[in-house]
Homo-oligomer: 254 residues x 2
Amino acid sequence: MATHISPKSAGPATTSVISIHELKARCSNCSMRELCLPHGLDQHDLDQLDQLIASRRRLKKGEVLYRPGDPFTALHALRLGSTMTTVLAEDGREQVCGYHLPGDLLGLDGIEAGYHKGQSVALEDSEICALPLDRLEEFARHAPALQRNLHRFLSREIDRDHNMMLLLGSMRAEERLAAFLLNLAHRYKQRGYSSTEFVLRMTREEIGSFLGLKLETVSRLFSRFQQEGLIQTQGRAVKLLDVTALKQLAGQRA
Amino acid sequence: MATHISPKSAGPATTSVISIHELKARCSNCSMRELCLPHGLDQHDLDQLDQLIASRRRLKKGEVLYRPGDPFTALHALRLGSTMTTVLAEDGREQVCGYHLPGDLLGLDGIEAGYHKGQSVALEDSEICALPLDRLEEFARHAPALQRNLHRFLSREIDRDHNMMLLLGSMRAEERLAAFLLNLAHRYKQRGYSSTEFVLRMTREEIGSFLGLKLETVSRLFSRFQQEGLIQTQGRAVKLLDVTALKQLAGQRA
DNA sequence: CGCGCCGTTGATATTATTCAAGACCAGTGG
DNA sequence: CCACTGGTCTTGAATAATATCAACGGCGCG
């Protein structure tokens, strides 16, 4: 594999002119940069990082990024849209174990086995950058800051999962839903969107699977929260009305 | 910090004689080597790895390796014994999120924040090697095999956590306990111990917290499994009598 | 316009928790 | 050596939480 950018633009272009498509494609220019690459990378690092992106994919709603058994070769950086990650039990049971927004890194669980055990599906039209692990590691050997960032990413996922275990293992249904909504609020805020108004990209059933509940329970809770004035919903559109009360429910300090 | 082995043995020793204590301390000689360092490290790598171990600690049963808020500086390799890792919610709720055996790496969730969010406690007298992350990363920059292994470790923890989310989110109490017992069986087997007879180091309450159940439920399930001839128990000593049935219960192919 | 998925709501069933009492067991001190 | 004590474990009965079954309404897409 060459370490250069492979020329992908179809139309004619001089070396001094970068097409809009290419411009959009660069990490150094990506709006999610602050999330993807939190700290310590200088311009030179960023330029190099641009070069290791192997492909940029667009996924339509419902398309699968990877499925169980697919060989693992790269991490995937979600640039735009949202995806849902699931694990499957041998008996076919399915558990949603991640709801990803732009800036998230997907597929981290595939490194160990060399193939994917779970599945990742686009919940809306999405854009994803593939970062081949080999190249990423090679680069990390020369850029301590990126090496640390990679480790931070992996560690963050572990931390996130432990919090999900806490949620699934010791919270009641209403507490789970409150925590779920607050988590989304937090992440939308990080990304510069409204933290109190957003549109869920999952069905009630998917939310239920994520939270270890049945879809009817989720639906009932949405209704109850609305009745109690905590939120306002219209289908998948949610508006948080009483964040303090939600935090109290979720066991978080108000 | 020097990169040399700091002389720790108290008694007199010539440079050509290595005390038993020091000998035991080496990764290259550790019985858990195959688990800690699965693949691709040559002798030179191993020698170097020995040198980055900062300390070796013995923990008595009940002693805490790290607590929430402790600064994160190193990963910890469990050499001997067993530990339990927990996360704490803001409101004080506690969730056991790991039950570790020799060869496991602890504290992976601390990299991101730079401090530990959870807590790790020895369940019996244990021995632990501290691997400072800075040094580990520096070493990884020169040893691709170790770099990959480190990533594999982090990825394995993510994979493990996703399986726990599956267990907590979509299995019934009896299925959870069956899966728990089978998981232990598998790991004891990997380590060269009996896969059908072992001693649990956790109380019923701790097992319950791990599995998202109450201690009474766990106790009742042990009784029922015994009555049904699936296992035989005597306090914390467990003998698996019908692994096939347990697998069926846990939703695994027999 | 109609079909299929999605969401809501009610009635009922099931599962696990809670509350309570007592047995067991190991370690300690008289 | 034995009684005492605190923690752990077991078991039963009542209760609460969530799942299941069922019916229907609505929305979006073809």
